[in-house]
């Protein structure tokens, strides 16, 4: 019964996106449709969470073709968790875009829905070629979102982003083709453990993992992310942050668990994890604006997820899944804070900010909570996640990893304190920023997107719109809740980790 619904998170947003293009130009109707669709995906995700809580796998063979021919969609605990988090993030981004009036752009909402359809599909598919297709379905709207509704730097950023993503997609497709050539199948169930038996298959699967690592911004393939994400509008950065790279991470975790059975690449993944952590956190030091700093931390936090994967123990993976879920929300909350600041003050460059804590206490508290959570301070969710991860690493005697992870946490905290002291504490800047600061030339009023298109100019608005603040607070609250009442999510993460450690249920479900 529920298995029939597995096609819905892909089909409904796609159909709704098409419908929105046709619908009359009524903002309320469009927002309502997009919101309702995303709420529906969230509801389905919650149903799937309940359904897979015992470690079972829900699956659907599309079109009723016999096994081996049909396209299989499958959801286990991990997929269900990712589906829920993704839907929450889409909802937050929609709310933020409504507050910032970004969705006035006629193509904004259809593009967001298309992107979410691709993301949901990538979380649910059990077929590598379909993974490629869904990743493309997810990326093409993101190219458009970056270049259509971005800031003045969007062309340069868009070129880097599109070129790099396309190159990674091409490599991904090539990897899938090689894997098919070696094994004669692209069904994840039939590929189970194939890399442990056959070196050629392991190499082909390695190409797939490499392409996915580029999509997940793993060092040294990370350069595109901090260059591109800050160039677009806050609502779009918010959306990208939680969805695009996380699809890459999810697919890496899934493939490494099923195809490699968690063996063979441990040292490689561990090295990549540690280097990613360190490079990300050091890169953030040189950034002059809030979103630039946060985007580099995005790279750094990917390292923690890879660390969990490299350990590949039950506790490590459970910590990793917990980390992934809470981190998506924390990062979204931080980017929302930066977005509110940018929206109210016209800039998020730290040198032009100051004293925000006095004028916007709610925003300041949200930022503080999310920032401390990102850095891993108790009693917030980031602490639970990082503490569990460090314990798991220590258990495996990976003391270097423990040391690096703790050090990177400390440096993250330094970065967050830098933002706090520069933007929220102290006195407001006395000197108004000059118009051309930041390398942005005159904005382009003739494109009709003047206010957010000129993010570095001062606008005199001092109060944030309530919707923006509400979205920010709603994203920051889970940090506290998941920190104090971590038990349910930890249990879910444990179930997901067991599913990854022993993928036999998943494999049986998708090959049956």
């Amino acid at each position: 019964m529920i298995s029939t619904a597995l096609t819905l998170p892909v089909a409904v947003p796609l159909l709704a996106a098409g419908l929105l293009v046709l619908l009359p130009d009524s903002t309320g109707l469009r927002r309502g449709t997009a919101g309702a669709v995303s709420l529906g995906v969230l509801a389905l995700g919650i149903v799937l969470l309940v359904e897979t809580a015992d470690g079972s796998v829900v699956r659907q063979t599309v079109g009723g073709w016999p096994a081996g021919i049909s396209i299989v969609l499958a959801a286990d605990m991990l997929s269900a968790l990712m589906l829920c988090v993704g839907a929450v993030l889409v909802l937050a981004s929609l709310a933020f875009a409504a507050g910032a009036r970004d969705d006035r752009e006629p193509l904004f909402l259809p593009l967001v829905l298309m992107l979410s359809a691709g993301v949901n599909g990538a979380f649910l598919t059990a077929d590598l070629f379909n993974l490629f297709v869904f990743v493309e379905v997810m990326l093409v709207p993101s190219y458009a979102l970056l270049t259509v509704v971005g800031g003045p730097d969007r062309w340069a950023a868009g070129r880097v982003y599109v070129t790099f993503s396309l190159l990674a997609s091409t490599v991904l497709l090539g990897g899938v083709g090689l894997l098919y050539g070696v094994t004669g199948t692209v069904n994840l169930g039939e590929l189970a453990g194939v890399a442990t038996r056959d070196t050629a298959a392991a190499l082909a699967a390695g190409v797939v993992l490499l392409a996915l690592a580029a999509k997940a911004a793993v060092v040294p393939l990370h350069g595109w992310l901090p260059r591109c994400y800050p160039a677009t509008r806050p609502s779009v950065t918010l959306l990208f942050s939680g969805l695009l790279t996380k699809v890459g991470v999810y697919a890496i975790i899934r493939i490494y668990s099923v195809v490699f059975e968690g063996t063979g690449l441990g040292p490689v993944i561990m090295t990549a994890a540690l280097v990613t952590m360190v490079v990300g956190v050091l890169g953030a030091v040189g950034q002059p604006d809030m979103r630039g700093i946060l985007c580099f931390h995005m790279v750094s936090q990917i390292g923690y997820l890879l660390l969990a994967l490299a350990l590949f123990t039950e506790r490590g993976l459970a910590a990793g899944v917990f980390f992934l879920v809470q981190y998506v929300l924390v990062k979204a909350a931080l980017l929302a804070c930066a977005g509110v600041v940018e929206h109210t003050h016209g800039t998020d460059r730290l040198q032009h900010l100051g004293g925000l804590a006095r004028g916007a206490p709610v925003l300041a508290v949200s930022f503080l909570v999310a920032a401390f959570s990102l850095a891993g301070m108790p009693p917030l969710s980031g602490f639970t996640a990082k503490f569990a991860l460090l314990l798991a690493a220590a258990e495996e005697a990976a003391y270097l990893a423990v040391a690096v992870a703790a050090l990177v946490s400390l440096l993250t905290l330094t970065s967050m304190v830098k933002i706090w002291t520069a933007a929220f504490w102290g006195a407001p800047p006395t000197e108004a920023p000059r118009e051309n600061v930041g390398g942005s030339p005159t904005s382009s009023p003739h494109l009709g997107d003047a206010p957010p298109d000129a993010p570095r100019r001062t606008t005199a608005r001092t109060r944030a719109r309530p919707v923006l603040l509400a979205a920010t607070v709603a994203l920051a609250v889970p940090s506290v809740v998941l920190g104090l009442f971590a038990e349910p999510l930890l249990a879910a993460a444990n179930t997901a980790a067991n599913g990854l450690l022993d993928p036999s249920t998943y494999v049986e479900a998708v090959t049956r």
Partner: protein, 168 residues
């Protein structure tokens, strides 16, 4: 098999070369070549020695081609096609945007400084070009962005990529 491998190699080499060039149109052609390379790779993955149409009841199944890679290639071709259109659209939109911004910046005085040779003194023109370059230098990424839009000032004399003119 060897022919296919050579074709993939040559196409990939050409594609990567073009993608690394400046200019969005070159990048587009690069991706078209890369797309072809991967498509041949996919077809080869199904085996090159069995060529008969995969229809049951029409000959020996051992001689039939594998239909799955062909379906993959069909999907991949559609995606490459869409991407090509998108990239060309981006190149066009960027050129339009850059043109419009340039007109704004030079007070609407006949487009770019480089083109209106007759109308202005040499000093005014080079000052305009210099300030444009200074602005481009503010962020490294903007520099490359304005360069391939064929920014009049940079194109005139100091452009490191004078061939850029034709393609965007």
């Amino acid at each position: 098999m060897v022919t296919a491998a050579l074709a993939v190699g040559v196409l990939t080499a050409g594609g990567v070369f073009l993608v690394l060039r400046p200019g969005l149109v070159r990048i587009t052609f690069g991706f078209v070549l890369l797309g072809h390379a991967v498509n041949i790779l996919l077809l080869t993955a199904g085996g090159t020695e069995r060529r008969n149409p995969p229809l049951l009841g029409h000959g020996d199944t051992a001689d039939m081609a594998d239909p799955l890679p062909q379906a993959f290639v069909l999907t991949a071709i559609v995606i490459t096609f869409g991407i090509t259109v998108l990239l060309l659209g981006m190149a066009r939109a960027h050129a339009d945007w850059a043109d419009a911004t340039r007109t704004d910046r030079t007070d609407g005085g006949g487009g770019s400084g480089g083109r209106s040779r007759g109308g202005r003194s040499r000093g005014a023109r080079s000052r305009g070009a210099r300030s444009r370059e200074a602005r481009s230098r503010d962020t490294g990424s903007r520099d490359s962005g304005s360069r391939d839009s064929g920014d009049g000032g940079t194109r005139d004399s100091s452009s490191p990529h004078p061939r850029e003119e034709g393609d965007s």
